[in-house]
């Protein structure tokens, strides 16, 4: 018996129902509607069904030392399997140790504290070739994290836009998005990376650098751009922006409460504008409005000063983002299509515009379908960043490879690479699982 509460159109389906499960009748209907198997599962949480209590519970039996006892059998097999796994691991470890000893190859992680002597082109932390291998590897880890973090954010934004564009009613936009997705995901990533790298190294030399914007130089040495010379007033303004963000958040929460009470939502944007923009700017003006730019200038072989993005980093980032965005676009498209068309119609009937329907009704529901496969895409992007060695971006693989080559300690080097990727991947998974649980359908 399927009972659809007439007054809540949005809850027409009990699985996709949109926040209307507080309706008391649902609890009753649910029990009524499920088959026996589900009843067993839900029985624990719901009020005990008098038909089930006691009667079905299996009688407790003492464990017997006999092959016919399933518990004895299961314990036996578990011991066998654990033993086999332990033996294989022991065999691999002891055999490796013996072979390394026979071949007189140095072992252990002592090399981490020796002077590296390897040059690194770009790093987020201070690095000199006189530093240790440990620091060199840290630089590699940070370079990997840098490209993976920025890459995941950009791929999400670009992919979401593409996914929505592909569903657009605008024929041209839809087709363009389709062509992009098919091309980007059908070509091997390594090829795309080499393509972008060739593009960036084919730019003119630094002495003939392109200048798309005053002070920005694009050459085969990368993109050089002016940097703000950071001063005390900027630090103050920065923290005021952060404070403004917190205040705006709190006010938005208050606005929601007011809306719940009165049905009228106070305007939040003036508060946001005031606290996040007006106050910091005022503080900066009071402190003397310091503003000076560190503009890159051609000196000797290359540009000095300012900020820079290397061709290797840009090629890797663009390659990873354009490639992953194609997959993200398909996931977003699938997510949106998974929301029943009735939801669009219902929200339309309530007077929401198409954009509002997408933002308020469809996307929140689509997210539940989108998030789990997105985790895989983030993991893929992070792991694919190891292709950086091909185009000379010094990520953890590049630096660990050099390290293992100079020290000859391949097993330690590979172990470090595996540990780093495992740690990053598990962190991403953990975060995404947490987020997934947060946005999951809340059954009440």
């Amino acid at each position: 018996m399927l009972v659809i509460p007439a007054r809540s159109l949005l809850c027409f389906d009990d699985r996709r129902g949109y926040r209307a499960q507080t309706e008391p009748r649902w609890g009753f209907r649910k029990n009524d509607n499920r088959d026996g198997e589900n009843r067993m599962a839900t029985g624990a949480q719901a009020a005990p069904d008098p038909r089930l209590s006691g009667a079905r519970a299996a009688p407790k039996k003492a464990i017997r030392l006999s092959w016919s006892d399933p518990r004895v059998r299961s314990i036996f097999w578990q011991i066998v399997i654990v033993g086999a796994v332990a033996w294989v691991i022991w065999y691999l470890v002891s055999n490796t140790q013996r072979n390394l000893e026979v071949r007189k190859i140095a072992t252990g992680f002592g090399f981490l504290w020796r002077e590296a002597g390897l040059p690194i082109g770009e790093s987020l932390i201070e690095y000199e070739p006189t530093n240790t291998y440990f620091r060199a590897l840290m630089v590699g880890v940070l370079n990997t994290l840098k490209v993976a973090f920025i890459g995941c954010i950009l791929a999400t934004i670009l992919g979401t836009l593409l996914g929505i564009a592909r569903l657009s009613k605008n024929w041209l936009l839809g087709k363009l998005a389709s062509v992009y997705v098919e091309v980007a995901r059908d070509l091997p990533l390594l090829l795309q990376l080499l393509f972008w790298y060739v593009i960036f190294t084919a730019l003119p030399g630094p002495r003939q650098a392109l200048q798309p914007i005053e002070g920005w130089f694009l050459s085969n040495r990368g993109l050089k751009f002016p940097l703000l010379e950071w001063q005390f007033a900027h630090t103050v303004a920065f923290f005021l922006v952060l404070a403004g963000l917190v205040v705006t958040q709190l006010y938005a929460r208050h606005a929601t409460a007011v809306q719940m009470q009165t049905g009228q939502r106070p305007k939040v944007w003036p508060v946001g504008l005031g606290t996040m923009l007006a106050v910091p700017v005022a503080a900066w003006l009071v402190l003397g409005a310091p503003l000076s730019w560190d503009v890159p200038a051609l000196r000797g072989f290359n540009f000095q000063g300012g900020g820079s993005l290397s061709p290797e980093f840009m090629a890797l980032l663009i390659g990873l983002v354009t490639y992953t965005a194609a997959f993200v676009a398909e996931i977003v498209r699938a997510g949106i299509l998974s929301v029943h068309s009735g939801q669009w119609e219902a929200s339309g009937a309530l007077g929401l515009s198409r954009g509002q329907s997408l933002r308020l009704i469809v996307l929140p529901q689509a997210l539940r379908v989108i998030i789990p496969p997105m985790t895989s895409q983030y993991l893929n992007l992070t792991k694919n960043s190891s292709l950086a060695v091909a185009i000379g971006y010094q990520d953890i693989v590049s630096i660990a490879n050099t390290t293992l080559n100079q020290t000859g300690q391949a097993i330690e080097g590979i172990a470090i690479i595996m540990m780093v990727y495992l740690t990053i991947s598990l962190t991403i998974s953990f975060f995404m699982n947490w987020y997934n649980a947060r946005i999951a359908l809340k059954e009440r």
């Binding site: 072979n99 040059p119 070739p129 072989f301 290359n302 060695v389 091909a390 000379g392 050099t402 097993i411």
Partner: protein, 346 residues
């Protein structure tokens, strides 16, 4: 490709872990039996060479490997089997070459590899000799107008990772109080392409390698200039696994045969006549008298076979390195003011 290379290292590392499970051609049996017996029983030599460096090891238009290092492999095969063609060449990168040797994937590694103390000790290798005296230099585009490496302050330098080159580069710039930005790319082809595209101001590797790359540019070779500074010593030689004395003897003396042959003027063309040379040292070398070959455990005419099929060192140099436009220099025989010197065959 790079993934594959990394996989190669991983597999080789696994090869260390699983000797009895991996039936790799030169597996860890070599360790117990000694490489000499394993190679003898197999009937072919597995030789680790460069993936492609003109003059040292590169396949020609017919797919035949050619080069100074390749001749080294052929000389060992001629000594072992009396047939210089019984060699299987395994191309190795700068990154995976040592692992390939350590794990037993190759029997010997003549791959323009610099002999250093740390490689000789902590990598579990033994170097058997020096078949090419090299040094590291810089190549720049002529248009840059740079005349000396000392003028390279602030320059961007392309370099292949995992080599002594990389470390010499940082040492030299540090010692001269100059700064540089490295561009580190794994595959030699990609490094060269980056330099040629102008990503870097200078390219650094061994001078012989620079000459090799320059010669490959054909008519545009003139656009590039190799700077006069040689910033390091790069003695290139063949490596074998440590503690394998019988095998390293064969590898070492195969090289000395080629040097001694040049010293006595024996070439692949005249070696048949030289069999009747009255000089007792030539008689001993070619196995007419004495038992030098037997002492090594190979046929007594082993040296004859090397000279007949591969030639002497001078011939090999002329054939392989000559076209790159590199002079003999320190690779001249000691009798002509060079460094190439063989102990006596006695």
């Amino acid at each position: 490709m790079t993934r594959l290379r990394l996989l190669g290292v991983a597999v080789a590392a696994a090869g260390l872990a699983l000797p009895s499970l991996s039936p790799s051609p030169a597996s860890a049996q070599a360790q117990q039996q000694g490489t000499f017996d394993v190679v003898k029983a197999r009937g072919t030599l597995i030789c680790g060479v460069n993936t492609g460096l003109a003059g040292f090891a590169a396949p020609d238009s017919q797919g035949q490997w050619r080069g100074l290092d390749v001749d080294y492999c052929r000389a060992i095969a001629a000594a072992m089997f009396g047939d210089a063609t019984k060699v299987r060449y395994v191309p190795t990168t700068a990154q995976n070459r040592f692992t390939a040797l350590q794990s037993g994937e190759v029997d010997v590694l003549p791959r323009n590899t610099t002999w250093t103390l740390s490689r000789d000790t902590s990598l579990g290798l033994d170097f058997t000799g020096i078949n090419f005296y090299d040094g590291q230099g810089f190549m720049v585009k002529k248009a840059l107008g740079v005349k000396s490496a000392k003028e390279l302050n602030g320059a961007t330098v392309c370099v292949q990772p995992g080599t002594t080159t990389e470390q010499n580069l940082t040492d030299w710039f540090r010692a001269n109080n100059l700064r540089f930005t490295p561009v580190v790319i794994e595959r030699i082809e990609e490094v060269n392409a980056a330099y040629l595209a102008g990503r870097c101001d200078a390219l650094t590797t061994d001078v012989s390698g620079l000459a090799s790359i320059r010669s490959q540019q054909g008519p545009r070779a003139e656009d590039h200039v190799i700077l006069p500074e040689v910033i390091s010593k790069e003695p290139l030689g063949a490596a074998v696994r440590q503690g394998d004395a019988r095998w390293s003897d064969v590898v070492r003396w195969a090289h000395f045969v080629m040097l001694t042959a040049e010293e006595f003027g024996i070439t692949s063309a005249n070696v048949d006549q030289k069999l009747n040379d009255p000089n007792p040292e030539v008689q001993r070398l070619l196995g007419r008298t004495g038992e030098l070959g037997k002492m090594l455990g190979v046929e007594n005419n082993w040296a004859f076979q090397i000279i007949k099929q591969v030639g002497n060192y001078g011939e090999s140099f002329q054939r392989n390195i000559g076209p790159l436009g590199i002079a003999r220099g320190p690779n001249e025989l000691w009798t002509k003011g060079g460094l190439q010197y063989s102990p006596p065959f006695r």
